[in-house]
Symmetry: C2
Subunit: 320 residues, 2 copies
């Protein structure tokens, strides 16, 4: 008989969430551990095991588990390793898949966090039934997962889908953590939006409730709350960010002609305030054949659920 459960693990720079998932996508039990508190990878694996063991016992023991799927920053599907992840405690190449297999005695499949979110959307979210879509994750960084003909795109080396590091400003572009200038991530990530807020506040004379906040700590949530109250500066921040995202999306459409682009993360929840400038930016920059035809959709999954569910879907692959 097919084993009825999988384990999904969503590793992030600040926290790692995990859960047991059934074939219908129900999360039967979940927990979390703080990623940076384990500077030794083996201690991290041991902590994961201790966190998961009671959940595994609850569903009838390890014999009931088909496999483990894990989404991790810089996770590589082909090698099952994390490779040179700037925001994790472990340096160089970490053989994450093998360490999990050894500890849990279960098959383990690794991918990056944005790819896991894409699988989550395709299996349980707004991209259900779609064969061609792109997910853009707007968080501390900007990640992406690309689905073509129903399959995740991993590329020749397993690192495909780094759309946060495509260049959206070639002149006077902002310096990115990757060393390049003008990357999409420097504008559309949480820190990018905060940076835009600071720039607009400093260069405009418009009154704004955002001026009362610590200018170094403005979040996209602050901007959202000001914008829905009609704050002009806040609206301008969304306008700028949305248009720029739309411009970037136009080039992504020219590449893979997706049915939809799905937005995941806090910024995506700002409704028309962000969606309208995105759609305008997109339509003003795509070829006529695509104008008005590409859906831009906010994710409808709870952020934590999507990542666990997406990662867990890899668990069914049961790659040994």
């Amino acid at each position: 008989m097919e084993k009825p459960y999988v384990i999904g693990i969503d590793m992030g720079g600040t926290g790692t969430k995990f859960g047991i998932v059934d074939t219908k996508g129900n999360i039967l039990g979940q927990g979390s551990i703080p990623t940076p508190e384990y500077p030794e990878i083996q201690d991290y694996i041991d902590a994961l095991y201790e966190g998961l063991l009671p959940l595994i016992e609850e569903v009838g023991g390890v014999s009931q588990i088909k496999g483990i799927g894990i989404g991790a920053p810089n996770g590589n599907y082909y090698t099952s390793s994390i490779e040179f992840a700037p925001n994790l405690p472990w340096k160089g190449v970490v053989p994450l898949g093998n360490l999990l297999k050894a500890k849990f005695q279960l098959p383990a499949v690794v991918t990056n966090d944005a790819n896991a979110a894409a699988i989550g959307e395709m299996t349980y979210g707004v991209a259900r039934g779609m064969k061609n879509f792109i997910i853009i994750t707007l968080g501390t960084g900007v990640g992406s997962g690309i689905v073509i003909n129903g399959d995740l795109v991993y590329g020749h080396d397993g690192f495909a889908g780094e759309l946060g590091h495509t260049t959206i400003r070639r002149t006077n572009g902002r310096l990115c953590g990757c060393g390049k200038k003008g990357c999409l991530e420097t504008y559309a990530s949480a820190t990018g939006v905060a940076r835009t807020a600071r720039e607009i506040i400093e260069t405009s004379k418009e009154d704004s409730t955002l001026r009362s906040l610590d200018i170094e700590k403005i979040t996209s949530k602050d901007v959202y709350e000001a914008a829905i109250k009609g704050d002009k500066v806040a609206k301008e921040i969304f306008q700028f960010t949305g248009n720029l995202l739309g411009e970037a999306f136009a080039d992504f459409v020219a590449f893979s002609a997706p049915e939809a682009i799905v937005l995941f993360g806090g910024l995506a929840q700002a409704g028309d305030l962000i969606m309208k400038p995105i759609k305008d930016g997109l339509d003003n920059n795509v070829l006529p054949i695509w104008r008005g035809k590409i859906k831009v959709l906010p994710s409808n999954l709870k952020a934590s659920d999507a990542a666990i569910l997406g990662a867990s879907a890899l668990g069914w692959e049961g790659k040994e």
Copy 2:
């Protein structure tokens, strides 16, 4: 027994080339007709039939032919139509596949010309054995064919791979025939290179043999011939065009992480004069994980052969 031959047709704005191809990729007979001389599509189909009939008879008649593959500007694999092709005599949507089927009584598969070239490279050229690569066709326009996991990318609607219309200059970009500004095509196409030549000649005081030519008619061949003789202006034209192509390629790499980018068309034959600035532009704009790792290769197929061979490969699909 499997039928031993296919027909490959390469439709271009000025001429259409066709041939009979065997399973090993030998072109057994070929011919051509001038595309613009048939303002009625049915006359064009009839002329193709007349041109191909003696070749078909020579290999033993239509019973020996498995199918027809055709690469055409704006050709859509899903609908087997040409749709709104700006450089062809027929307007709107032309049901090319059905017209060919009706005339030849053979299955016919349509794709765009760059996709056909990609299939040609994958089957018989420098991309043999590669599962992930991108072909960029540098001609009157700039086209592209994207191969991921061994399959051509058609996208949701069949129009994927319009990389010539990604935006490479967002400020003061050149006006493109598509209506957008700053498209890669406005810089890297034959007319784009000629335009760069005119701009550099007009703004520089450097001596150049190019100054003796009609400034409106300079071709990339003229530029090549001047450059190999050491002409500084000609070298600067290649430097500018190559760097800009490399910048564009960096974003393509972030999308699909290909093993190689294959260049097809006249400009690709300029050797290190164009290849070096392309590689520099690429390496200066990709994430560190890809620096120095992505191959940039000139096509090694004869231009006319590649397109016929690529189109013919679709003939084996024998889609009814």
